[in-house]
Symmetry: C2
Subunit: 412 residues, 2 copies
């Protein structure tokens, strides 16, 4: 059961001019489920992405990067193709061949070159990709292409997700109103490092490619790179940002202009909603936990401490039990690798409750207050380091019996 | 249920001349359980230790370090005192006072100074230590002091352990036969960094203090620092090595002498048995897993990769399910932070079964072979990097429903 997450209202998902989506049931791993998605872009769209830092990066990630770098500057990306059920990772040279075969098949149907197609996969690792089923399913995706298909697209990329993840936003950029719509998938193997799992965000804004790359990096850093479910970085993480350029506006080309900053922030807000939806739907999650680390010397040390807390199985199981066993949070803080940390200076809050200070329990702390907060489904842990002016916020979930069940049964 | 671990035969635990142990039921957290241990040393014993690197290190660890450094060279440590039920960690200045009060109480009973007593605690974090119960329990420990009390001592330091952990060994050093006997506790919050949880090993060998320090560091590195249950480094880790000097032999003073190396290796063997017993009794463990990483450029990178595999919740739950979902091991390998790793060169074995090579599945690999190995209660994962001559071996366990249950219920 996801934490305070509902399926988006399909009508709330705004079409993005120049972007059409089509899905199909291609029987890639299991029958009777949408498992193939094509996102077709009109000519002239710009695309930028960030990818997993895992050294075992999946074949489609390798091919997507190659295609983005090989693309003739006069040409544009015409389609993205996404399959679930099989990650095409840990599949060696055959996997690269299968990813390229997928692109070639779609390029032929769309009348473009292979390089103009970007492939994405998610699912089981180290199984051969059933590429024939994918190419056989592509015509059905093409037949299904529609601008108002974002909800079904979000469904088609789900694996262990219990709900589709999609959101829309509009922003006023100069005199134009631009639309931003995105989808994402992910519930486990979530500890993004540059990007998470799969996220696709499209806007009709007109923006130069360098600025689009800046926007995708910014949104990844402040949204997807701030979440963790289990500390495992996937082989297939990719977060893609599409700008179709169909909005009636001049192209944004100045990274410091208020218009670009407004667009970038609107995109980051959409990415944040998607990232938080992934945590809310975290495998076995029963609680949504924000971890704010403040007063650090650098953002980096704040993130280090935040992730040490967010990754600790002992902290996560204590949240599952609603047990204010808060010494575990102190232990994780001391364990984050910040070697000159002065524990005497640290304050620990659960929401508004001051739990610990001066290296020990706050004398005024009442277990009943901790218990009250721990029973909530949304909790903020605040660690104040009192040694500088930097801060960071991360989002995570608890660890339950169901996390073990889901991951012990995933393949069977 | 621990993995292939039984309680030691009390008769197999050899007394160490110059070392007596006494236990008591002091009602520190729960009634009717042994929760207090005194280890009394004859005059002239040498003691060295390694301790947790957690910045929130517990009050008794701070005091033990102080006492070791403050000790008059002409004097010797006369006692160690260990309580369970309360870690005296995250307890600020009061905690330091309580640890010192414990030492003072025991020093008075033994007729020595406080500095000659070393305190250790394990149990719940961030609760005030009930020091009056400890001092009230000390006379019963004194009355119970016996050289052949190692089994009951191992029982007295248990927390979530299901079985006591103790072992003995004898080694021929020159013409003397020396005895080495040790006990340890630990089942969760296990990812030692310098030392683990609590381990106490005593020998009657005569050895200089610098060499004793070398031996404790060596044994920690090759035994306790090679295990992990859940990746959480405790606030209270301590591994203490005692040399009573009662064996009829000249004092060892040369770190390169064959006699010292033989003693050091015998101590390391005892420490390894204790460390492996901790993993076998890991919270909720159903499988004992050795992870060998070979062919690395440095031992450090081999350990990094080994721990990335050993800490991955996805790998650990796959072992619990006996599911040869081995892509998760490749993903964890790629995720270890060895940024120039060439995944094309890596071979992955499960026991003798070659699972993956050249960045993908071994064409000859049969799922049935992987399944056969995964069903065993003892499994060796071997990752061959093929880029150098270094290697490392670590020991860990799987992650089961019971891990979550134990840690969600630990305080209640």
């Amino acid at each position: 059961m996801p934490v305070n997450l509902v399926a988006p209202d399909p009508k709330s998902l705004l079409p993005v001019a120049g972007v059409a989506l089509g899905v199909a049931e291609a029987n890639i791993r299991k029958p009777n489920r949408k498992d193939l998605l094509v996102i077709r872009l009109d000519d002239g769209a710009k695309v930028a992405g960030v990818f997993t830092q895992n050294r075992f990066c999946a074949a489609p990630v390798v091919v997507t990067r190659q295609h983005l770098s090989m693309l003739d500057p006069a040409a544009s990306i015409r389609a993205l193709v996404v399959n679930t059920g099989n990650a095409n990772a840990g599949t060696g040279k055959d996997g690269l061949g299968h990813a390229r075969q997928t692109c070639a098949g779609l390029a032929e149907l769309l009348g473009c070159t292979s390089v103009q197609v970007l492939p994405f996969s998610t699912g089981v690792i180290m199984e051969p990709l059933p590429v024939e089923r994918i190419t056989a399913g592509l015509p059905a995706c093409i037949a299904d292409l529609r601008a108002d298909n974002w909800y079904r697209a979000a469904q088609a990329i789900m694996t262990t997700d219990t709900l589709p993840k999609a959101t829309s936003s509009q922003a006023k950029i100069g005199n134009a109103t631009v639309t931003i719509t995105g989808i994402a998938k992910g519930a486990g193997m979530i500890h993004p490092n540059m990007a998470t799992m799969l996220g696709f965000v499209a806007t009709d804004a007109r923006v130069s490619l360098p600025l689009l790359k800046g926007a995708v990096a910014h949104a990844a850093k402040h949204a997807f790179n701030c979440i963790t479910v289990d500390g495992d970085t996937s082989t297939n993480d990719a977060f893609m940002l599409i700008a179709s350029g169909k909005a009636g506006m001049d192209e944004l080309g100045d990274a410091h202009s208020p218009d670009f900053v407004a667009l970038r922030d609107a995109i980051t807000e959409v990415a944040t909603r998607l990232a938080q939806a992934i945590v809310r739907d975290g495998e076995g999650a029963t609680k949504f936990i924000a971890i704010r680390v403040e007063g650090g010397r650098s953002e980096d040390e704040c993130r280090k401490i935040g992730f040490a807390i967010a990754h600790s199985p002992l902290v996560k199981t204590a949240f599952f039990a609603s047990d204010p066993n808060l010494g575990r949070i102190l232990a994780a803080t001391g364990n984050a690798g910040v070697t000159d940390l002065d524990v005497e200076k640290i304050e620990l809050y659960l929401d508004d409750v001051l739990v610990a200070r001066h290296g020990g329990r706050n004398p005024d702390y009442q277990e009943a207050d901790g218990q009250r907060v721990m029973k909530q489904s949304e909790i903020t842990v605040r660690v104040v380091l009192n040694r500088g002016g930097s801060s960071a916020v991360l989002w995570t979930c608890d660890m339950s019996h169901d996390y073990v069940s889901i991951n012990a049964d995933y393949r069977s």
